[in-house]
Symmetry: D2
Subunit: 362 residues, 4 copies
């Protein structure tokens, strides 16, 4: 079987690099094109990463393979959809707003950018939760007259939260969620991202726009596709959160208080998470972990440094599941989710895998 030929736009940034790492040795997707800003066009990828002072700006632990290093970078504006089967997008929101629709006329665009997340005809796919939202893509194509489509990933802070809520909703219902995040600095990228002087020996209690994203996206992800396939009805869970930044490189930690729809015991809550298999189509995808959620008994877990990389960063680790005495049917727990793997590039690759399994891609 011929592999799907993918172009990656925004290839030189930190998010783009994570796509490159995630697509290495992929069974059916081939990284066939790298696009970046006009300034990088015509250079090899390795040259495009080199800064004025001689640094090769490749920042992830998996070394850059020689084959990718030698690929010629094209300008995002010059990408020809006809040369590719799909596009992955790791550009900033403002660039995405221009570039993604142009490509989506012809090919699917799976994106880490937020530009189109809140459009009515755009699903926010987390395969084990809402594979059933994928057909909204047909509506999007119809409305916009596109052959392709745009499928953006949720905000990285939303992903782990939504995954842990999904089994609770299925078993008990969830009425409300209050969450405080302790987020890693990698999510802010490197231009300039979080400055060292701001985060060493410190906590930053505010991440602009983050809380609104989590509150809106969680409801959308956990919602339902209307019977006519024309739009999503958001879930009626109420969500309130405070998002902070801590001195952690990778892996978002979230302290969650949740009000269930009915009485339950700690054991039942733990069991619901442990037994949750997610939607069937999501289970055997190449990037899927053996379990979507791992619940620790050790009260000192999860910890971002120890748990973020389990199963390639595709797992959500949970611990400290306890009753909460304040909320109705209240429980509290802590989760760790890898913000740049499951929460970004690898989550997008997982979504592409699912869309293909659903016959919506390639």
């Amino acid at each position: 079987m011929a592999k799907l030929r993918a172009v990656l736009i925004g290839a030189t940034g930190l998010a783009g690099q994570q796509f490159i790492a995630g697509l290495k040795n992929h069974p059916f997707i081939e990284l066939a094109g790298l696009a970046a800003s006009p300034r990088s066009a015509g250079k090899t990828y390795a040259e495009a990463l080199r800064t004025a002072n001689g640094m090769t700006a490749w920042f992830i632990s998996e070394p850059l393979s020689p084959s990718v290093a030698g690929m010629k970078v094209i300008s995002g504006d010059a990408v020809q959809a006809k040369d590719f089967d799909l596009a992955f997008s790791a550009v900033e929101a403002d660039v995405a707003r221009e570039l993604e629709p142009r490509l989506a006329r012809d090919i699917p665009v799976i994106s880490a950018a937020s530009a189109f997340r809140y459009d009515d005809d755009v699903p926010l796919l987390i395969p084990p939760i809402n594979a059933a939202h994928a057909p909204l893509i047909r509506e999007q194509q119809k409305r916009r007259g596109w052959k392709g489509f745009i499928a953006p990933m949720p905000n990285c802070t939303t992903t782990g939260l939504a995954i842990t809520l999904a089994p609770l909703i299925e078993r008990f219902g969830v009425k409300a969620v209050l969450m405080t995040s302790l987020q890693a600095i990698s999510g802010a990228g490197r231009s300039p991202g979080v400055i060292g002087m701001d985060i060493l020996d410190n906590v930053i209690p505010y991440i602009p726009k983050e809380e609104g994203k989590v509150e809106v996206e969680t409801k959308k992800i956990l919602g339902a596709l209307r019977p006519d396939g024309s739009a999503l009805s958001p879930h009626d869970v109420r969500v309130s959160c405070t998002c902070t930044r801590v001195a952690v490189l990778e892996g978002h930690t979230e302290s969650v208080f949740v009000s269930l729809g009915k009485k339950a015991s700690v054991e039942e809550v733990v069991q619901a998470m442990r037994e949750w298999k997610g939607v069937e189509v999501s289970r055997d995808l190449p990037s899927a972990p053996p379990h979507w959620i791992h619940v620790h008994d050790d009260p000192f877990r999860p910890q971002p440094r120890l748990d973020r990389d389990v199963y390639g960063g595709m797992n959500t680790s949970v611990g400290r599941v306890r009753e909460d005495g304040v909320l109705e049917n209240g429980f509290k727990y802590v989760l760790v989710s890898h913000n740049t793997k499951m929460g970004a590039a690898c989550g997008a690759i997982l979504a592409a895998e699912m869309l293909r399994a659903q016959g919506l891609l390639g």
Copy 2:
């Protein structure tokens, strides 16, 4: 006026060192004795701090003064109450359980240890909040037949939370609180405290016993002395929290969700905190800050590194006051409180100052 002669027990540990720094140049308390374990007895304080490998284990930024460095350390067991007017205690809970009652037979003991916090006849004093609890000391003396008494400080995580709740209770009432703490590592001390490998690039989601302390102590601090002065009626606020440890040296950050007793606006909540002056007797104490609470407009504040040391670490910094859509009359905010100054040694000195102003000390 002669100064009160204080003995410090547990003088060599991190908490003890903070008492020494806090009592430097105190207007009416003189550090007249230093006590530690029998192993240190007979040495000068500087010698007692020296470890086998040549390190002088003085860990706070204010340099050790030569006069304290040269004081002879006595064994905690050998402290004679008659030589002193009061004792400050910075020992561990198990040592406190033996040592503090022996001294309290004759002199007041103001303590950072948790050993007696939960006894019925023991107040948990935060001067601006509950100066009115101080007379419970009379009941304690009567019941136990002591001339002195034990006045323990609350847990450091409770202090900042209780201070920010106090003005809300006064103006609006508070029904419930959900709090997630991001705590500094200094609170764990140095024996061994938090290990570097555990906290660098990491979050530890569990601090044994901490959450229970915060939940119980908050209700006690905010409660009311019964008319007959025999005990405290805890406040009926419901408190639920998750306490975590982050890579911060000093200063606890807390993300608070609170349900008020009646409707309010963000402006009213901010105003309540800004205008709060605390109980009158607390206002002009030598260690009191000009304001108990500082509310930031800058959404990136408070930050522990920038805000912990304001007004000598006696201030509580608040920011990000917003409405919360989940709780009834819900609001959310972030606070920073200095865990080893207002939250421990300096809070104890402040309490001593208040007790003297109330005629209960010396």
Copy 3:
């Protein structure tokens, strides 16, 4: 006596903020003007610090005083020399190259920028070492036809090294120095400075241009003014160094190997540093510390976090003085110097104080 009226150019950056903190309550210098980029002109200083997302970008622990917060910022280009007695400069090198000479035509400019450090008629003043270089200013004025002058500060990494070498040169002579620095991130400023992702759990082994600066400046600082006052003869010490960046906020640590001009014992080397008083004119300046060098006996010192702020950051802390078996008359030691206080803004203020004592300023 009227205070000298100083204008600060580059007032909004991190270096500028340190000048503001350092000049607070100065006995004879008044901060009379604040200048920054045209974008800030006309705003109050507090407004100029406010970023688009609502942050007040004041990053040092001393709070911004209301009087400075309310000062109107002028554009660097619009500063009128006639309105001031001297200028302090905290601008980047390229801006300094334009702005400093314009002001120096009329008034003295004491600068933290590197632009003019290597000019023949420009001294690099560290008061206790080379007060005798100050008259080179007369040559500078003569050559350039200026009424004022430019006196730049050395690179922050050079300062601590030069201070510890000075007493060794006086007593024993110094032939060669090999130094490895472990530098704090504050030196890189905030635009963007060192990125959090680059420094957390990491060391960066390269700081562009830093090593060359240290090698050249050390020789210049320790050199001698020619008898005719026309230029400096650099010291013939050979200097080789490797400069690295570590996860420290403030305070450069340097590991030094030094070859003395004659035999000495560890005791003699320690004594030379401890007894060193520096040039007489430098000793009683308002910003001068009681000792220029503190030598620790504790082998675990100096440490940047514990030692950087001693005596207001104006002291250089030394420890681990030992013989080295490789170099001729070899010794090795570790030093800590505050890079943004003695090594930048406060060092510049100290230089201004000395120049005034020498009759060269105001």
Copy 4:
């Protein structure tokens, strides 16, 4: 072919855990026994790792496999040499002094402990450098009347230094080395290891005994076995170093100044390192990396976080190779070496592999 049955003594500590990770799926060594202190004896390994407060003290990122988790731990004192083909030792030096000789009477003991490193009849094996030292084991067996032997690994700070010196000695000779280390905290283990409060925002300039170890071991490792095989003649390179601790989890960084035996260019020095293949017997061992040394052109490398894990942590990364103007034929460079992989457990496994290839093991 039957696998060699190995017992690991000191299995529960951090070093022991690294042996367990390193031996996972080993082609010819089977982890057949786990030994620890009497307190752990009789428990499963997972139980032995559980602390009083419920923590499972497994601290490395590779998850603990169920098969190891279920193994019964035996007391170090109860280990029967006859049950095993070899022993790996990860105990502290004082325990090693008792336990290792008892086992070495019958079986080879490959050890990370320092207890026997400095004995005349004990080699310090780094396979690519000094495979030729291995026959000293015969002398050891003869002298001590043992059927087994003790082969300790060098100190982790020595390993990277010696590896980078080896090709320089071969091509140019090396007369002297001055080195400053910036060491990771993992080397100190967890009992208590480096305390968080000591290392956050800090550098510790002293690691007890470390410098002496590096100076003596480097000469021994690079020395030559005397023709009669009875002892090693240390290399006459002079070594002087300063060892510091920085806020890095894993990976020692070292700033090296070296005086070569003859003139060379930077290109030749780089080439010598890049082309160095090490002793033939070391090249194809299962744990050997494709190259022993990687020399970066990017001046911002090596960095511990980015380079420590290359080739499973068995590679030494070098960068910033430059001439040094102070030493005779002087050069300087920076290296990063993984202190707990190549520098400890995995280095010991590599040595075992080599000894087997040499017919000295099993």
